[in-house]
Symmetry: C2
Subunit: 494 residues, 2 copies
Amino acid sequence: MRKTPYQQLMAFQHDTEALAQVAGRLGWDQETMMPEGAARQRSEELAAMEAVLHARRTDARIGEWLAAIDDGKLDAVGQANMRHIRRGFRRNSLVPADLAKALARLTSLSQRLWAQARAAEDFASFAPTLAEIVSLKREEAAALAEGGDLYDALLDDYEPGARAADLQAMFSALRPRLVTLREKALNARHQPVALEMEFSEATQMLLARDLARSFGYDFKRGRLDKAVHPFSSGSGTDVRITTRTNLHDPFNCIYSTIHETGHACYEQGINPDFALTPLGQGVSMGVHESQSRIYENQLGRGRAFCGYLYGEMTSAFGDIGLPDSEAFYETVNRVVPGYIRTEADEVQYNLHIMLRFDLERAMIEGKLEVSALEEAWNSRFEADFGLAVDKPSNGVLQDVHWAVGLFGYFPTYSLGNVYAGCLNKAMRAALPELDAELAAGNTGPATGWLRENVQQYGGLYTPQDVITKACGAAPTEAPLLDYLEAKFSDIYRL
Amino acid sequence: MRKTPYQQLMAFQHDTEALAQVAGRLGWDQETMMPEGAARQRSEELAAMEAVLHARRTDARIGEWLAAIDDGKLDAVGQANMRHIRRGFRRNSLVPADLAKALARLTSLSQRLWAQARAAEDFASFAPTLAEIVSLKREEAAALAEGGDLYDALLDDYEPGARAADLQAMFSALRPRLVTLREKALNARHQPVALEMEFSEATQMLLARDLARSFGYDFKRGRLDKAVHPFSSGSGTDVRITTRTNLHDPFNCIYSTIHETGHACYEQGINPDFALTPLGQGVSMGVHESQSRIYENQLGRGRAFCGYLYGEMTSAFGDIGLPDSEAFYETVNRVVPGYIRTEADEVQYNLHIMLRFDLERAMIEGKLEVSALEEAWNSRFEADFGLAVDKPSNGVLQDVHWAVGLFGYFPTYSLGNVYAGCLNKAMRAALPELDAELAAGNTGPATGWLRENVQQYGGLYTPQDVITKACGAAPTEAPLLDYLEAKFSDIYRL
């Protein structure tokens, strides 16, 4: 029997999805296993993969199949597949193959250059590469935008349907209440104490493994390794996470691990029928971050789970210099001045994002040259955080994103936080006994609710729709802000 | 300036080579890093990669470029490139894409089924899968042979230009003298002793790492991991090796590592100008095995290097129950009855190959059904080795090769041994002081001679030519047999 155009398209798409998984795994390998001397060859390999993927994603047969398919006659899954494929085909056809290949090759090489520059604390040595990346990304944005907003065109890659103007409004709503809360916490009389001892990095990794498992990560369909930058990669039955360790700060490892576990559980929780289809992965970075952030913060940094974690920590490390779980909870949630986004507390985190959002928008719009970026970062940072940046690894070189061409990605972190605030409110309403379970280290009811209401759907609904459906109302900033004010007023006795 | 057809072809080939490296790395990942539950998805990924590679290797544009290129006007490197590409294009065009894809998918899945069957000591559970593989390989052979010999058609994949009839003649020349030597050794009054203690597997891995390094393996362009089956994979600047450990038999780890180091050093020693071209990898499996076997045996199991290794072993493990380096040398080279090819001594190794060569030829020629394979293996093994096979993991399930579709591969091991015999004779003539260096653990002169005379050329010459050129004469069995008789007559005081 001859296949319908829809079946032919889906068979073609299946191989494209499989090849995208391969490319993703190369990226994982590059960060975890690849020998140092293989960097240049790897960039050639990734560029060749990118060329293959681009050719498939712009294959003329897709256009023919799309023309022959009447979406209205498909079921809901078929219609969702078509929504993704039509959107992707249009976007991919707009980007010239040579540009896609040049970006892949450059961003594969540039990651190592960024790491070297960061280690050498030398932004100037990386600036020409970054300038080249920005130039290519501006080209890509121009091709995608078709006369519209350049930044929106890039943003759409990570958060379909999102617009910079809406994000700007979101940040405007977040900023004043966050800044006020931060000032109150920093100036409060009661201050949580810091950890003062060393924590065996091998033991941190063992604990990380236990925590990932306890949050529902399935090691039969994934693995956990160390890398410079924690990340989650892959979909379907091969979803791998990385974390890092710091001798003096075990929370770096613990909360990076829980964060990446959230990402990975989203992928692992998707309906397996969607594997190697457009629905078989998280629907957007914002929704992805909602999962990683709710695992990390609303669950992992909550008082109840901290009670359990305190027991785990003391049994792993002995006396950690804190008298009880309440002191531990406060220490976990300390609000302190700091340079590093990934180590920022919940109150300040979104302020770090706002800085990046404004700077990257300016670069993409051509209003900020890379040669002026370090200075722009440092002055903005001092204005926003009251600290002079002491070195590039604490400033403009701290994040890998721009070095690998991710422009328009940062704001999805804040969007994820806002979504997490909404989901947390809905989840707490649905699960009144949740804290008792979390206090016993049982995350099952929470992760089960998230799997049921968010994760299983993969790409079936739009990002906005999946959150709205889960929460019973369209997302707003209020639940996140209310939650933060209540939590930190309590900790700081405001 | 417009590129010439040759330049266009080589640019296209460059990406194909890069993608082949990616597929190879997926294979490595599957054996070392992949989570267990990802097996089915991985087979889809590999099948999609194979489809891409097959499409590129049979792309109609190659035919057009080939028609437009006058090989006679190219330099020696260009002509060698054309020789490989013309040959490959012809072979690849003969195999239908669906068949190539079916083979890739099946052999990706079947490896795990083989491992399960082996662990369960149950050949019957694997037989249907193997029968399917043999059936597909027979189809492939028929497509490639164009009416010629089916087995030759497969053999040509691993050893271009080799023919089963010539290999049959080689085995006929090897067999009588090897059988005689084996009988003499087994019946000799003087017998080397076996190791009797346990050897920490972690320490074995440390020693393996040191040995790989001391044989010239460059860890900046590779890495060493544990796997079920030792192997080397990748070309250019990313050549990875695996090894395994056995608590009671450190030689398994040590000599597997040195063997794979030989393969890897071949790849790492190729002229870097050849990277991602048809010349940028070992020219055949036979020549590859000549390197791995000469590293492992003529160098690594020689009296001189064993003197050095004895010192390393005793400093790593303390007293290993052997009085001196001479006893150690004898123990390393013990000839004992055994089931396992990869653990066989130099005298018996080729007898293991002959068994496989005959059985796989019979399967490919349709004279032996997979359903009768286990019985055929067991009776042939008893006839050749005087031992009744006690379980499939010691018999028909011991090697992964057939399970991943490698038919025609086994005889290249013996070809490699024969080549190694010839190379060893030429190298010893050129480097009269070699043993003094090896006794001090310095493999540099030997590996330097091999790099200079074999490895650097990659695919520049035909397999026969590269050996002939290095040795000053066409290869024959005599040097290997002379070397073995001299070595084992000495050890066994015959």
